[in-house]
């Protein structure tokens, strides 16, 4: 077995894009985690802990932007879920809020009045939708309709033509 020669993590030279997207509820239970840069299990756990500790105590009408280490953190609460994203230094925070909002809209359209339970019981779908919207930390598709159409078609494929 040969040794895998991996490049070292180079998050510091990355100039744009989300580093991670987390969804968690008020009890600190994680509902979705998407990592856009290679992150070890231990680092992930640490980030999740830190984010939960940073975001949960925030008062209702405070700023949605925080600084944490070398990242900008953007979070927004939708009903019982916090959507929390880590951005690079150069990224546009206001646009990140729009990204979070768009994702919620996509979930809402797909599940029909989405709530936390939908995301719990259908977490794979939440990931699939996310993967039609974002890729590598960047926006992949800017049209709401296009994302929904892709999801429908992929689901149909899964149902009726399992062999592709």
């Amino acid at each position: 077995m040969h040794v895998i020669n991996c490049d070292s993590h180079t998050p510091s030279t990355r100039c744009a894009g989300l580093r991670f997207l987390l969804l968690f509820n008020r009890q600190g239970k994680l509902r979705l985690q998407k990592w856009f840069v290679p992150t070890s299990d231990r680092e992930r756990k640490k980030v999740i802990r830190d984010m939960i500790m940073l975001v949960l105590p925030r008062q209702p009408r405070t700023c949605n932007f925080l600084r944490w280490k070398d990242l900008k953190i953007v979070y927004k609460r939708y009903a019982s879920l916090y959507f929390c994203a880590g951005l690079e230094e150069q990224d546009n925070e206001l646009l990140a809020l729009e990204v979070l909002h768009r994702y919620v809209e996509l979930l809402d359209k797909y599940f029909g009045n989405v709530c936390e339970l939908d995301i719990i019981f259908n977490f794979e779908k939440a990931y699939f939708i996310l993967d039609e919207f974002l890729m590598g930390g960047e926006v992949l598709e800017t049209s709401k309709f296009a994302v929904n159409v892709s999801m429908e078609q992929a689901d149909t494929l899964q149902e009726h033509h399992p062999y592709g």
Binding site: K45, M135, A154
Partner: protein, 794 residues
């Protein structure tokens, strides 16, 4: 579309667990079942099992045993299995895992699959966790897909290429042609991906950036289309057409226009158009405006456009939305040094934001306010900052305090204001100030001789208000020790005088000494202050004597040492006590904080006219060989000690030095010594007395570097032991003494002692050196000093 029933059942079971322990039990059982299922051959429920495992993983439980299952699922021909398999790969595998290599082949195959959704899975996974090796391997395939006719694939390939370029920078070159051609796409998803890719390529390589500058007109066209187009249901967000694409294009324009006049010109009109036409009532419009402002401020924009941008930020500052205010301040912070006046116009609003409820906004406002302090607004700004300090959140106090100190130091309109401000900060946030605040403040107070009385009164009163703020207490003790006599006089011009007795003052210091809130450092200050008072008061010297002797057996070693030495000062060296404990002279800024082995050189200024003897030590007399003895200060290198008189009062060799100047000259006190002048020679004798001779030779090593060799010999009949040399040089010269060859000089010149001194004189000042010679001969200690004003060979 039917959900996975087994998965949902498991989730329900987990959620109905009432305790953590119960949950763990459920999960253990499930995991065991899943593991068993994995070991079986293909059954219909494989994707369900993996999905269950992924859910369990998200709850925080280990799931590494599912990695190989992911690999198997990805290789499956069934789409449902591939879908979950790839999801699992993205969740459980990263490039560090061995298993990730195993999926490279599947990805490669799936990239050319006939179904775009399968291709899409491969692209997505590659962009998520593709290692450098995988990227190198598959880059050509991605480039091929960039030229596909399928928009769905093209947009995914574009972002996959972005990932590849981020992982392996060199591969960027490969994608340049395709990226260029993608700009003519109509599909927004593809266009967006293209813009992101081009941005990434330009960020990585300046040559590529040059080539892509030609695309500025195309980008401008696309933006224009978005801004003035009518409502497009596909991409509209609250009246803004595809804000995601707009922001990305603006960002690319920023990179292309930076440092380039032509490109900046080409985008000028467009930026103005976006800035004026974008609806700013909703966040989405502001997101675009924000990006526009960032671009305008970063490229070589014309001044009108710049003013427009700063005004947008000014409007943002007044926006009800906290996020917008926060953003505005972050941006203003970036330009406060380049567009200072423009930002100053909004100072009022910024200062108001100091009172905002939100901690993030407060922090930004503080940083910006500190950057906006200037000589003209210092008084009003300081008022606001001090108000802020008294009510600011604890995490900001250190920053606020140090910012206030910096501002006060730079723009203080008067010394009294400066001292008052520092005292105010010490009373409000004494626990959060940096260590050097205390010596800095002491220096400031010393140098403001006209306010000594005022300062000591203020500090005396402050001591009684709050004895817990250590920096304040330390400075107060120091002042009481130094200027206690002014306190006792009972009169003061600047402020209401206190009527205190000597006992009151000593009581105050004793309270500090005994308080459990005082740190050892503070106690040290208090003890020394008490000691100093022994020369400033008349009646209670005995009380001081007893305080000092009590601390001679204190557990704290530092205090004990001080007390013992002060005791010695009372007993054995009482004749020196008055001189030792006299008023401190003015301290120069960089003289504080000396390092061992180097004697400091500070020009001595007379703080009190008429005072001839300036023999002070801040610490009790130290045995020979210790440093930080103020007696070793070199008279001003650049400036003469006495007006008119030259520095070289004593030792001078070839140069015709002025004869020793009149009394008051430091050098005279040390007994200037005229050595025998020699004809110019490489080695020169700088000291010869009582049979001990010291010669000096030097060698230029470099532009500013110089080595000096000192050689000592003993021509007497008795041996000399404990021979040490110490040297001091002018302020800007750096000095390093090497270890001497020996420390004894046998009689009759039996052996010579040499010591190397390495000097660095970057400012090429007139080099002088003062050398202190110290040795023991026939049981008695001899100390002497010699000054060298010119160096042979220089």
């Amino acid at each position: 579309m039917s959900p996975s029933v087994p998965l949902q059942e498991m989730i329900r079971a987990i959620r109905s667990a009432r305790t953590q322990c119960e949950e763990r039990g459920v999960i253990q059982r499930e995991c065991a079942a899943i593991r068993a299922q994995f070991r079986q051959t293909d059954n219909g429920g494989r994707s369900h099992n993996l999905a269950k495992l992924l859910y369990v993983h998200m709850l925080g439980y280990p799931a590494h045993f599912g990695q190989m299952e992911c690999v198997r699922m990805i290789a499956s021909p069934r789409y449902s299995e591939k879908r979950v398999g790839y999801l699992g790969a993205m969740m459980l595998l990263d490039e560090k895992q061995d298993a990730s290599l195993l999926i490279t082949n599947s990805i490669k195959n799936d990239l050319s699959h006939s179904n775009q959704y399968v291709q899409s899975l491969a692209l997505c996974t590659l962009a998520c966790m593709g290692s450098a090796e995988m990227c190198r391997d598959l880059a050509p395939e991605i480039d091929r897909l960039l030229r596909s006719s399928n928009s769905y694939i093209k947009k995914k390939a574009a972002l996959c290429a972005v990932h590849i370029v981020r992982k392996v920078h060199d591969l960027g070159e490969l994608f340049v042609p395709s990226a260029r051609s993608l700009l003519s796409e109509k599909n927004h998803g593809v266009l967006h991906g293209a813009v992101v890719l081009i941005t990434e390529l330009c960020e990585r390589s300046p040559e590529t950036l040059e080539r892509f500058r030609k695309t500025v007109p195309d980008l401008v066209q696309i933006m224009k289309g978005l801004v003035i187009s009518g409502y497009s249901p596909d991409h509209d967000v609250a009246g803004v057409s595809d804000p995601f694409l707009q922001v990305r294009i603006l960002r690319l324009l920023r990179i292309l226009g930076r440092n380039n006049e032509a490109a900046s010109d080409a985008m000028n009109d467009l930026l103005a158009q976006v800035a004026t036409n974008t609806d700013s009532t909703k966040t989405v419009g502001n997101a675009v405006l924000y990006e526009t402002v960032l671009t305008v401020l970063d490229i070589k924009s014309e001044s009108g456009l710049r003013v427009l941008a700063v005004n947008i930020l000014g409007r943002f500052l007044l926006n009800n939305d906290r996020n917008i205010r926060y953003i505005a301040m972050t941006s203003l912070q970036k330009i406060v040094s380049t567009d200072h006046n423009a930002v100053q116009r909004h100072r009022g609003t910024i200062v108001d934001c100091l009172k905002d409820q939100d901690a993030s906004v407060k922090r930004r406002a503080l940083e910006l306010s500190l950057a906006l302090v200037s000589a003209s607004n210092i008084r009003s700004m300081m008022k606001e900052l001090l108000i802020f300090l008294s009510s600011c959140p604890p995490e900001l106090r250190a920053q606020a305090a140090s910012g206030i100190f910096n501002a006060a130091e730079r723009y203080a309109p008067s010394k009294r204001w400066h001292i008052d401000t520092i005292l105010h900060v010490l009373t409000t946030a004494g626990g959060d100030v940096r260590d050097e605040t205390v010596p800095n403040l002491i220096q400031l107070i010393t140098n403001t001789s006209e306010l000594h009385c005022y300062t000591v009164h203020k500090l005396y009163r402050a001591l009684f208000t709050d004895i817990s703020q250590q920096p304040l207490v330390q400075v107060a003790c120091w002042c009481i020790g130094e200027y206690g006599d002014l306190l006792l006089k009972g009169e003061c011009q600047e402020t209401e005088a206190v009527q205190v007795t000597e006992d009151d003052v000593l009581d105050a210091l004793e309270i500090v000494l005994q308080s459990h809130m005082s740190t050892p450092t503070t106690r040290g200050f208090a003890l020394t202050a008490t000691m100093k008072l022994s020369t400033r008061i008349t009646d209670n010297v005995d009380r001081i004597r007893s305080i000092v002797s009590i601390y001679g057996s204190c557990i704290d070693v530092e205090l004990q040492q001080r007390a013992v030495e002060y005791n010695a000062l009372f007993k054995k060296y009482d004749h020196m006590r008055a001189a030792v404990l006299e008023r401190m002279p003015v301290i120069q800024k960089n003289s504080l904080g000396q390092t061992n082995g180097e004697l400091s050189e500070e020009p001595m200024k007379e703080s009190q006219p008429g005072k001839v003897k300036q023999e002070e030590t801040a610490l009790p007399p130290q045995p020979a060989g210790q440093v930080v003895d103020l007696l070793d200060l070199l008279g001003g290198s650049q400036e003469p000690l006495q007006p008119g008189s030259s520095v070289g009062g004593s030792a001078s060799t070839q140069l015709t030095a002025a004869p020793s100047s009149a009394g008051g000259d430091l050098l005279d006190l040390l007994g200037g010594f005229e050595p025998t002048p020699l004809a110019p020679a490489p080695t020169v004798t700088v000291y010869e007395k009582n049979g001990v001779t010291l010669t000096l030779s030097c060698e230029q090593q470099s532009e500013s570097g110089l080595t000096v060799t000192l050689t000592a010999s003993n021509s007497t009949d008795s041996d000399i032991s404990g021979f040490t040399l110490q040297a001091a040089v002018p302020k800007s010269v750096q000095l390093q003494m090497r270890a001497p060859s020996r420390d004894s000089l046998p009689a009759h010149g039996g052996a010579k002692l040499t010591q190397l001194v390495v000097l660095n004189n970057p400012n090429k000042v007139n080099l002088k050196m003062r050398i202190r010679v110290s040795y023991t001969c026939q049981g008695s200690v001899v100390q002497d000093m010699v000054q060298v004003d010119s160096f042979p060979g220089l």
